[in-house]
């Protein structure tokens, strides 16, 4: 988003105009949709999120088209979906590098615009008010992104030995996360070794002993966990149940199933967890 300061008008926040998708004002149709989307979809019932104030959405004349129902998914909306999926899935989902990169880029550019406007003596009071709203939105999007990253870190730490032993799961990690899991694995391995295992008889030094009738020492994600999911795709193939039966997945319907059945649908984006 380039900001041309020689043109007064283009650097202004246009409170009364409907932002077009290509508009380079502070409100691309992106940020305020953060609120409106939560409201428009009752399935996002997490109170802590739905609770965030609607101030910015109500005070700014928003282009509501595309926010309710059919329209294309906005970046922020996509982040919200990935975040909720990640928090509800027992296993690590594929890393959304492109999405996170785009969000970071946008946060950065919004921040630059805010700084430019704040430092400009010609900025009107109305604009200062709008800048405040944008800053608030930015903070809230940062919160979602942070929560997304932290949720993944928490799972990575919980399942470190399992991830290190399973190349398939490692592919779901970003480079940064792969480095993290390696180093964290080394760290806990060394810690257990030094505090406990070194003092045990030599044949008991392994951290991954397998014995019959004993639960494994490596914690794996519980894929039998039941999850609620919402069908996004109009032409979603039916879901095959373990008993040989299958159920039809109609767009917009919500079902409850074991995570292992939902996994593949989640991967190709045809469902989302709720």
């Amino acid at each position: 988003m380039a900001l041309d300061l020689s043109d007064e008008e283009s650097s202004r926040v246009r409170l009364n105009r409907r932002p077009r998708p290509t508009d380079s004002t502070l409100y691309g149709s992106e940020l305020p949709s953060f609120d409106t989307n939560i409201r428009s979809n009752p399935s996002y019932g997490r109170p802590s999120v739905a609770d965030v104030s609607f101030a910015s959405a109500n005070m700014v004349d928003l282009d509501d088209e595309g926010l309710y129902g059919e329209g294309e998914e906005t970046t922020v909306r996509a982040l919200m979906r990935r975040w909720i999926d990640e928090r509800l899935a027992p296993d690590l989902l594929p890393w959304q590098g492109e999405l996170v990169g785009e969000i970071l880029e946008r946060l950065q550019s919004q921040n630059e615009i805010v700084v430019t406007l704040q430092g400009n003596a010609n900025t009107t009071e109305e604009e200062h008010f709008a800048v405040m709203l944008v800053q608030t939105e930015v903070e809230r999007i940062k919160f979602v992104l942070r929560s997304y990253l932290r949720c993944r870190l928490q799972k990575i730490e919980q399942y470190t030995p399992y991830i290190l032993a399973t190349p398939d799961v490692q592919r779901n990690l970003s480079e940064l996360e792969q480095n993290y899991v390696q180093r964290y694995g080394d760290l806990i391995g060394r810690h257990f070794q030094q505090t406990t295992l070194d003092q045990l008889p030599a044949h008991m030094h392994s951290l991954a002993e397998e014995h019959p009738n004993t639960p494994s020492m490596i914690t794996e994600p519980n894929k039998s966990k039941a999850v609620f999911f919402f069908v996004r795709d109009a032409d979603c193939p039916p879901m095959a149940l373990p008993g040989g039966k299958s159920i039809e997945l109609k767009k917009g319907s919500i079902h409850l199933a074991q995570y292992r059945l939902v996994e593949d649908f989640l991967r190709n984006d045809s469902v989302e967890l709720v």
Binding site: S48, V49, D51, V52, S53, L104, L107, Q108, N111, M132, Q135, T136, E139, R140, K142, F143, V144, L145, R146, S147, L149, R150, L153, E157, L176, N179, Y180, R183, Y184, L187, I188, H191, F192, Q194, T195, T196, Q199, L200, P201, M204, L207, E209, H211, T214, M217
Partner: protein
Amino acid sequence: MDSETRLFGDQAMTLVNEARRSNAAGTLSKYNDPLVRAVCREMRTLDTDLSRITSEYEIDDSQVPDGVMAAASFYHVALRRNKRCVLAYQNHRIEKLKELYWGAAGSLVHLLGDSEVRTRLSPHEVDFLRTYNEIVQEFRGDFEDILDVVGDVAIPPKELNVVVRVVRECGTIQTELGPIDFQKGQRFMVRRADIEQLITQGFLEIVR
């Protein structure tokens, strides 16, 4: 404890109970070094006994009497159980340490500077925290300037500015509006993002 009347695994069970109590109370108790050592010693003794029993029959195991077989299995199970118990205790400690670390907003100086916490840690655990801090900081560094990964993830921000009360003195802090000298008892209206860390670390409190 009288060693004569102690059963296999009693001490290991004590460790597990300690971990369980600590979880229920939400506090970190002192690292029980003597007990961990005692359990490991018990395991070494059991292992010596076990090898003595089995070594007599090593040549041809078809001749092992049922009684000896049962005793050997019993020793073996006791050993494995003890190992799991000690590791469970260590793992519980790690989880608690990480909880404290994130609770202190990733500030190791703040965490280890608290003498009350420090005395409860074993030297190995302090090392663990140091290395863990390195790993987390490296991860955090990648998002520098745009996003602080270590920030609060419990309550989504509802407003840009908050009114805070100073609970503990923390000196002069640079904020967007210039430096502020936080003195105990004072109230300030500040940018939330500027002082988030201080809230997590218990210096400031949000006034609602």
